[in-house]
């Protein structure tokens, strides 16, 4: 789903937006299968026993899947004419399957770069234990209002 078009003039530092994401085991299985990976060899994503083998309490979500969710938050927010320039993310903790996470974006700065309207955002996932497993910075170029 694509959000409405976002324009540079309509945003301010301090603005926030968020979605909710339920990291369901069946979605992880689907993601790994679509990636043509063998779930049997990736125990940490498969089940509790596989997770325990590598010292984890519960099965986790592949990092690239979490990154995809975070990226989609930004691309949905910016709209079809927005351009995601960079997305720099730090994986600080595993995302555990079964968690419900807030997927958040916060505008931290707006400026012009060679005449192009640029928005800097902090983006992160937050679980209900107050942890932020993924945190990062996205740089987006937005169109000006016609």
């Amino acid at each position: 789903m694509t959000a409405d078009q976002r324009y540079f003039e309509d945003i301010d530092p301090g603005d926030e937006f968020e979605e909710s994401w339920e990291a369901l085991p069946e979605h992880v299985q689907q993601y790994v299968t679509l990636g043509q990976r063998n779930l049997e060899t990736m125990g940490r994503f498969r089940d509790a026993a596989g997770a325990r083998e590598v010292g984890l309490q519960r099965p986790i979500v592949p990092g690239m899947m979490s990154l995809a969710v975070l990226t989609r938050l930004v691309t949905d927010w910016m709209g079809p004419q927005g351009r995601l320039q960079t997305m720099d993310v730090d994986f600080r903790r595993p995302v555990q399957q079964g968690d419900t996470l807030r997927v958040l974006g916060l505008i931290t700065d707006t400026h012009e770069d060679d005449g192009r309207p640029i928005v800097k955002l902090d983006v992160y996932l937050e679980n209900d234990r107050g942890e932020r497993p993924l945190q990062g910075v996205a740089i987006v170029e937005l169109p000006r209002r016609p």
Binding site: L106, D109, G136
Partner: protein, 221 residues
């Protein structure tokens, strides 16, 4: 009391100016944040100064360091050339007793960082048998820790009568000020910070608590 920037921490995405802009934006929304302390990982560069930025945005900017010891991470305020000479800041296993003692002897102050975290926090080591003798204060509220980990730190402080600071542990702009330390007296320099940590009255707070606290008694000058 605990923040990292792109200037010297390789896992940080926030710039110092970004932090200050964000604090100005937070103040407009009613939050009370006077200043920050940059505590870069395993690093202290005496040549770095942020006076111009601090003045431009009206935010106090002080500097310390987050060092790594045999009992987890330690925040050091009041880093002196002697301290930097005696300890290899790039080490990930500094002897904690020597570091806490040296910081005190050198006129600084050391705090056990994110005390409730597994492995890199003090509580984990105390539960394994460590005597926290010589440690006066811990970071009880840490913006990067879970609620459970911060509660574990609170229990540790209560058990051993440790003093408590709060720190955002910010690596990204929007995390700055998430957890803070409320001091009774105004602080404008590292020397004043160390004095207040050693002798003053302070406690850990969340940024939400600063809204109510801002309306409370004025600070002593």
């Amino acid at each position: 009391m605990h923040s990292h920037s792109t200037d010297a921490s390789d896992d940080a995405g926030g710039t110092v100016e970004g932090y200050l802009k964000w604090i100005v934006a937070r103040r407009k929304r009613g939050y009370h944040i006077d200043g920050i302390v940059l505590t870069e990982h395993r690093h202290f560069d005496p040549a770095l100064h942020y006076d111009a930025l601090a003045e431009r945005y009206g935010v106090v900017v002080l500097r310390g360091a987050e060092l790594e010891t045999d009992i987890g991470h330690v925040l050091v305020y009041g880093v002196t050339p002697t301290l930097a000479r005696h300890f290899d800041f790039s080490s990930v296993a500094l002897p904690h007793r020597a570091l806490f003692r040296a910081a005190r002897d050198e006129g600084g102050f050391a705090v056990g960082a994110h005390a409730g975290r597994p492995r890199i926090g003090l509580a984990h080591h105390v539960e394994a048998g460590l005597d926290p003798d010589g440690i006066d204060a811990i970071e009880q509220l840490n913006g990067g820790s879970s609620d459970e980990e911060n509660e574990r730190a609170r229990q540790l402080a209560e058990r051993f009568g440790l003093r408590c600071v709060g720190g955002s542990d910010a690596h990204y702009v929007s995390a700055i000020g998430r957890c803070l330390t409320a001091f009774r007296r105004e602080i404008r320099s590292v020397e004043e910070l160390v004095h207040e940590l050693t002798f003053g009255d302070y406690h850990a707070v969340t940024v939400e608590q600063t809204v109510a606290a801002a309306a409370a008694a004025p600070k002593e000058g």
